[in-house]
């Protein structure tokens, strides 16, 4: 590159000179499309639905017994007792429970689909430690039969993340759990992108074994810092371009970098951090890292040791997404406690989330939350179902930046609703009917509402 420097310098000088002399004449502004693969999701046509006489957990912390839920035009119209509506399709909810649609903030459905096959193993671009340029949505196979299985478990929204081999794994995408033969047909309209980061053992194992940095945890930190430092310069260059252009100058646009676009998106506040990070001391450093480079450190996933720093998480406004009981598969997963979620949750301004990271447990996220509630209550906590449900609904929506659209049964929000055969925190609980934007997408007793992926169709 060295020999081009004088040339570039001349060019830069001439650009700035011409900008000074001819401020009235500007080249067309360089603008990039931030949404080049836009959602084409359309809610399935729906009728007005009135669920009568159910036990309702609103997701916003309330429980209302003998309550009705009215959905119309794809939105929650009203939740309360003795509701009525003309032309509504009534659903008898006696003895049943109603909750918001369940949201999983950590899934690899579609990118590590079933059947497990090398040809479909598209979840982790484990070729270099920073792959901020990859987008999980470009790997999603919408025919993964796991989406239907998750729908039968009440999952209406889920974030698909890249894997955790890299310090920066790339962008995650939030999907509506509706059948579609394109990714765009599932994409949650206006949901922010996530950026997957990973702490700890995975990056250092994957790259260290190839004699490439990172090989240690300090190598991990150095890798993040170098990337954020570069992203800061990139942002500065673009901000300057924007400001100069706005001032009537004719600046030359910086060279576009797809990898840095994602990191800049975080620094601009458009993209949310989703950080695979098990250990207390690492999470505490990742929070400081965010402060060092002026972004929010977001949600910690697989936060096995979150209970050790519940106060720090709450003070800094971080969500922690956790399993109730997975442990022991790695050193960083050794210190699991079954009450982790409850301990994190107990702090004011906390954001405790139960996630799956599994095509199997995503089908019973309600029970995963239930396990925590019961174990915690055996050990001095007093957690009620109306509160535990927030771990898989409203708090999950907050983590994904979509709490204004879904996650609770509040007037005007998307009508994402699950009708359960009983208390959803029972091992015997099953979703009977599932609604996304007011449309029934699953019915346990009506095959008409049981979608089947192309892959399963016609298999003998």
């Amino acid at each position: 590159m060295q020999k081009f420097i004088p040339t570039l310098l001349v060019a830069a000088i001439s650009v700035s000179l011409s900008a000074c002399m001819q401020s009235e004449k500007q080249d067309e502004k360089v603008v990039f499309n931030k949404n080049p693969y836009p959602s084409t999701y359309q809610a399935i046509p729906s009728k007005t639905v009135l669920i009568k006489n159910a036990t309702v957990l609103t997701g916003a912390g309330e429980r209302i017994d003998n309550a009705d839920v009215l959905m119309s035009n794809g939105k929650i119209e009203q939740v309360g007792q003795n509701l009525s509506a003309e032309n509504a399709m009534e659903v008898d909810g006696s003895g049943k429970w109603v909750t918001p649609g369940v949201i999983d903030v950590h899934s690899h459905l579609g990118v590590y689909p079933s059947p497990s096959a090398e040809s479909h193993s598209d979840g982790n671009e484990a070729t270099q430690p920073n792959t901020s340029e990859v987008w999980a949505e470009h790997s999603v196979w919408p025919q993964d039969p796991g989406f239907q299985a998750a729908r039968a478990g009440g999952i209406t929204t889920l974030q698909i993340l890249p894997g955790s081999a890299n310090l920066f794994g790339g962008r995650g995408v939030t999907l509506r759990n509706v059948p579609s033969h394109t990714m765009q047909g599932m994409k949650f309209p206006e949901a922010p992108y996530g950026l997957k980061m990973a702490c700890g053992e995975n990056p250092k194992r994957v790259y260290g074994s190839r004699k490439v940095s990172p090989a240690t945890r300090m190598g991990n930190m150095a890798g993040y810092r170098m990337a954020w430092s570069e992203a800061t310069e990139y942002k500065r260059a673009w901000d300057k371009y924007e400001a100069d252009y706005a001032a009537g100058k004719n600046p030359e646009a910086p060279k576009r970098d797809i990898e840095l676009d994602t990191l800049k998106g975080v620094l601009d506040g458009d993209i949310l951090i989703h950080n695979h990070c098990y250990k207390a001391e690492e999470m505490a450093m990742m929070i400081d890292l965010g402060k060092e480079f002026n972004y929010h450190s977001g949600t910690f996933h697989h936060a096995i040791e979150a209970y050790k720093i519940a106060d720090i998480l709450a003070e800094n406004g971080n969500c922690a997404a956790m399993w109730p009981d997975w442990w022991g598969f790695k050193m960083e997963a050794y210190d699991m406690v079954q009450e982790n979620v409850a301990i994190v949750d107990a702090k004011a301004n906390s954001c405790a989330v139960v996630h799956s990271d599994s095509g199997t447990t995503i089908q019973r996220l309600n029970q995963e939350a239930g396990k925590v509630m019961y174990r915690a209550n055996e050990n001095g906590f007093d957690i009620k179902p109306e509160h535990a449900i927030t771990w898989i609904t409203l708090n999950s929506a907050k983590s994904l930046g979509i709490a204004d659209k879904t996650g609770s049964l509040e007037k005007g929000k998307n009508a994402d609703v699950v009708l359960w055969n009983q208390n959803p925190f029972s091992v015997y609980a099953q979703a009977e009917q599932v609604f996304v934007d007011g449309a029934k997408v699953y019915d346990r007793f009506d095959e008409k509402y049981q979608a089947k992926s192309d892959f399963m169709l016609g298999q003998k």
Partner: protein
């Protein structure tokens, strides 16, 4: 132990690691016997010297009596098809003893069993009192020998070694599944003809001494004699049918584990009287198991197959066995069937005399706060060989440390 009660010498002679087992009567229990007796209400169970000595005796004589207040008493749950005690942290190679490249059919990992593994105390939270450990073996299709251990956490935990032969058949990332089946058949055929030859030679007295079979040959001979279960991991229906054919031809005591597509050949499995060991929550398709679903257990049981349950995935999740049984119940299995599937049916598959509440049986019992399959219930008390064990684990200590307020750093809270 009662006989020796007054004898200090006898006590001193007893195994140093086993706790002195006094006789215990559990009264007023709802006893799920997992026998033809079914469920007994307001029942009394007496255990002494490691075994159940009486059920509903006319007069109760025991060193101590526990009023169950109507709560549910079941046999201790039995885990299987995992590496409990052989792996502490899955990704830490120096804590793994379940596999070895060179391991063959003779591989006996019981000598590596660590009763102090943190996973053992934790698994007791799930009411698991004993476990059939199945090593992962090496390059051979035979993965070695299963062994049985209890979950007391004591150094004398091993109940039985060389309990079953482990075999993997099915899809291969390199090569063809056909070769494993072919090799298995060849081995059985060769062993059978060698036995016949030895027999005829012995008859004709051609040799003074019959040649002693090698260790691996003895194991195959035990399979041919039906003396030892062959636990074959297989999913695809064709593999299951091929194994059934071998069972019929060679008189094997065959058990099929995983059995993803067993639902497609449920009738044949039932007719061949082959028990299966499945994970109830495995319902996502693979090419070898396109038809498994949450209803698999129900379909198999309805067809008359004897079904045992195991957990899916990592050994550390063993405590979830009862919840996975609960999921099977939600999908059509009766509670009685589900309980048998995590107790007697597991034991039977491995010819292990446990998993039932009956006089003379191993006193492995669990008293539950409520429905054993529910998320909201917990183990109130449990006994292994008639000795009470708690469910406290490292996880409890960590929790207590971090929910206890202190002015000092947490490390001082112990």
């Amino acid at each position: 132990m009662k006989l020796f009660k007054s004898s200090l010498i006898a006590l001193a002679l007893a195994s140093a690691s086993s706790v002195y087992a006094e006789s215990i009567a559990i009264t007023n229990a709802t006893v799920h016997t997992v026998t033809e007796q079914g469920t007994l209400t307001n029942a009394t169970v007496v255990m002494d010297n490691g075994v159940i000595t009486a059920i509903n005796p006319k007069t109760v004589t025991a060193d101590s009596t526990i009023d169950a207040q109507g709560k549910i008493l079941t046999p201790g749950l039995i885990g299987s098809m995992n590496t409990l005690g052989l792996v502490e942290v899955s990704a830490v190679s120096r804590t793994r003893d379940a596999s070895d490249k060179k391991a063959d059919i003779t591989f006996d990992a019981s000598t590596a069993f660590n009763p102090k593994s943190a996973a053992i105390a934790y698994s007791r939270k799930g009411g698991i009192t004993s476990n059939i450990v199945t090593p992962r073996g090496g390059e051979s299709m035979f993965k070695g020998q299963a062994f049985i251990a209890d979950l007391s956490g004591e150094f004398d935990s091993i109940v039985e070694t060389n309990s079953a032969v482990l075999l993997n058949v099915g899809s291969k990332s390199k090569g063809s599944r056909a070769l494993a089946l072919q090799n298995l058949r060849n081995k059985l055929e060769d062993a059978k003809s060698a036995l016949a030859k030895a027999k005829s030679e012995a008859k004709a007295d051609k040799k003074k001494d019959a040649k002693e079979p090698k260790r691996d040959e003895k194991i195959i001979n035990a399979l041919l004699a039906g003396e030892k279960p062959l636990i074959a991991k297989a999913d695809r229906a064709t593999d299951i049918l091929a194994l059934i054919k071998l069972k019929q031809e060679f008189g094997l005591d065959l058990v099929i584990a995983d059995a993803g597509d067993a639902v497609s050949v449920a009738k044949q499995i039932a007719e061949a009287k082959v028990p299966v060991i499945i994970a109830t929550i495995d319902n996502l398709p693979s090419f070898d198991a396109l038809h498994q679903s949450l209803k698999s257990a129900t379909v198999l049981m309805d067809a008359g197959v004897t079904v045992a349950f195991k957990v899916n995935g990592d050994t550390h999740n063993l405590y979830q066995l009862r919840y996975d049984a609960g999921v099977a119940i939600a999908n059509g299995v009766s509670k009685e069937q589900a309980l048998a599937a995590v107790t007697a049916n597991v034991a039977d598959a491995f010819n292990y005399d446990a998993g039932r509440i009956a006089v003379g049986k191993k006193a492995d019992l669990v008293l539950w706060s409520a429905d054993p399959f529910e998320l909201s219930s917990r183990v109130e008390k449990m006994w292994i060989d008639g000795v009470e064990h708690d469910t406290q684990s490292r996880q409890d200590a960590l929790r207590d440390r971090y929910i206890t307020e202190s002015d000092m750093p947490r490390a001082y809270t112990k």
